[in-house]
């Protein structure tokens, strides 16, 4: 099975570094980190990820605006976006993550198995 490309867009450098290490250690993913939301579309176009993990509260550009920008690009519109955010509690979306208004949310911090489960679920939906 080939690895899937995951793009992480989040301004927290420490967190994204740890996330990349953890996800790549599963052997399932190749992870690219973008810490500046303003570069999200350009980075996505060059990396062409299978899935994007997107923070919500970021300086310069907020997550929902990034999601709209990604969706407006015909080359990127079908890429599933999972919001990974500290602004919600797992009690609001369930321990396994869940949908709010059509978007998939995972509370930060969630354990690695929960995050992987959410990623896999969204990748399956894509196929």
């Amino acid at each position: 099975m080939s690895t899937k490309r995951i793009l992480v867009i989040d301004d927290e450098k420490g967190f994204t570094a740890m996330l990349k290490l953890n996800l790549e250690s599963t052997g399932k993913y190749e992870v690219l980190v973008e810490n500046d939301a303003c570069n999200a579309v350009a980075t996505a176009l060059s990396f062409m990820p299978h899935l994007i993990l997107l923070d919500i509260i970021m300086p310069n550009m907020e997550g929902p605006d990034v999601a709209i920008a990604l969706q407006e690009n015909p080359l990127l519109e079908d890429i599933p976006v999972v919001f990974l955010t500290a602004t919600i509690r797992s009690s609001e979306v369930g321990d396994q993550g869940g949908r709010i208004g059509g978007h998939f949310f995972v509370a930060k911090p969630s354990s690695l198995p929960i995050l992987v489960h959410s990623i896999e679920e969204n990748l399956v939906m894509l196929n």
């Binding site: 420490g14 911090p109 354990s111």
Partner: protein
């Protein structure tokens, strides 16, 4: 009610001079056409005994008694009967004494030999009215103070809520970094060195504890957003129990359900009531250190009161008497060392208030504590 000068007053005369005492009694009786209830005493102790046995509207008080002198006499009477109007009856007039008696708690003062039946009667009635107004003002002041406290408390909580949302985001990011970092290192650890694993476990547990605290604060800041529907509380009990299934199993706790199958529905926010029940059940579990203890959860339809009740009985150590008035206070906890913030019961109480319901906790005579939730049954 309109008060008249002829209304009889229950009057206590405290005067050690027998002539003065008899004269005063006669004047009071005459002014009320014999209808007043009049008692006399010639010592402070005698007066206190009468105050203990009877209710009076007004006391005519000589300040120099065989067993009490001066202002202390007023203080002692005021303490024994705080609702009683006091008219001081002084032997000689000194202006500052008169004013001082009012400051200490008397309503008026008379100078012996300088009044007649009419002025005495008028003074007594005016004193009673002044005392009544004073008591009303005190009550009003207390009400204002109470509502002011409530407003301050609400503002404080609003501030904490806003702060909590902001802080939660900022703190959860570094926490997530710590948790993912530890997770990565843990999986990469090749050594069997237990001390390293212990250190990592401790780091992970601490970060998780901090995350729980933040989650509690967030729960609290979202407290007023309710999504009410018609619900069956038995179903909410089942849902709550399933959420803490793991904790129940871990401590091998026996759950006894006594659920009334005919329970009427109530209007409530399911998630919020689940939150309340989980909180109370977790408190019960924490209160029972011994494995194999029992929790009884009961639903009762009190149709006569239009109420539906949920009770949770545990076999724990109960609530310390000194804590019983504080358990619903925000930030009060007996489990701070274990990561308790002290918002659990406070949040529960607020959620119940938003449902026009109540939550009570008390110790059971047979041991352990009982939590009682009361809901209004839907019409």
């Amino acid at each position: 009610m309109e008060a008249k000068l002829t209304d009889p007053l229950r009057t206590l005369i405290v005067e050690d001079n027998q002539v003065d005492q008899t004269m005063l009694a006669a004047m009071v009786t005459e002014a009320s056409r014999g209808l007043s209830f009049v008692q006399t005493a010639d010592t402070l102790q005698g007066a206190l005994n009468l105050l203990h046995s009877y209710e009076f509207d007004v006391i005519i008080l000589d300040l120099n008694l065989p067993d009490s002198q001066g202002y202390e006499t007023i203080r002692d009477i005021n303490k024994a009967a705080p609702k009683l109007a006091i008219v001081v009856n002084t032997g000689s007039y000194e202006e500052d004494i008169g004013i001082q008696t009012l400051r200490i708690g008397a309503q008026d003062f008379l100078i012996k030999g300088k009044y007649n039946g009419y002025t005495l009667n008028k003074t007594l009635h005016y004193a009673v009215e002044r005392k009544r107004m004073e008591l009303e003002l005190i009550l009003l002041y207390q009400e204002v103070k109470e509502s002011q406290n409530q407003i301050v408390q609400m503002e404080k909580m609003k501030m904490v809520g806003t702060l909590a949302s902001g802080v939660a985001h900022e703190v959860r990011n570094p926490l997530a970094t710590v948790l993912y970092g530890v997770n990565y290192l843990y999986n990469r650890l090749e050594s069997d060195d237990k001390s390293i694993k212990n250190v990592m476990d401790t780091i992970r547990e601490s970060a998780e504890k901090a995350n729980n605290i933040i989650t509690d604060l967030l729960d609290f800041s979202h407290i007023d957003q309710l999504n009410k529907t018609e619900v069956n509380l038995n179903e909410i009990v089942e849902k709550s129990l399933s959420l803490i299934h793991h904790n129940i199993q871990e401590k091998n706790i026996l759950i006894v359900k006594e659920l009334d199958k005919q329970l009427p529905t109530v209007i409530a926010d399911t998630n919020r009531i689940v939150q309340v029940l989980v909180n109370l059940l977790m408190n019960a579990i924490h209160a029972m250190p011994n494995k194999g203890s029992k929790i009884i959860i009961r639903s009762v339809n009190k149709s006569s009161n239009n109420a539906t009740i949920i009770e949770i009985d545990d076999e724990g150590q109960g609530i310390d008497e000194e804590h019983i008035n504080k358990i619903f206070d925000p930030f009060f906890t007996t489990r701070r060392a274990n990561g308790g913030v002290g918002l659990g019961l406070f949040v529960c109480q607020n959620i119940m208030k938003l449902h026009d319901g109540t939550v009570f906790l008390k110790n059971r005579p047979e041991g352990g504590a009982r939590a009682t939730l009361t809901f209004k049954t839907s019409q």
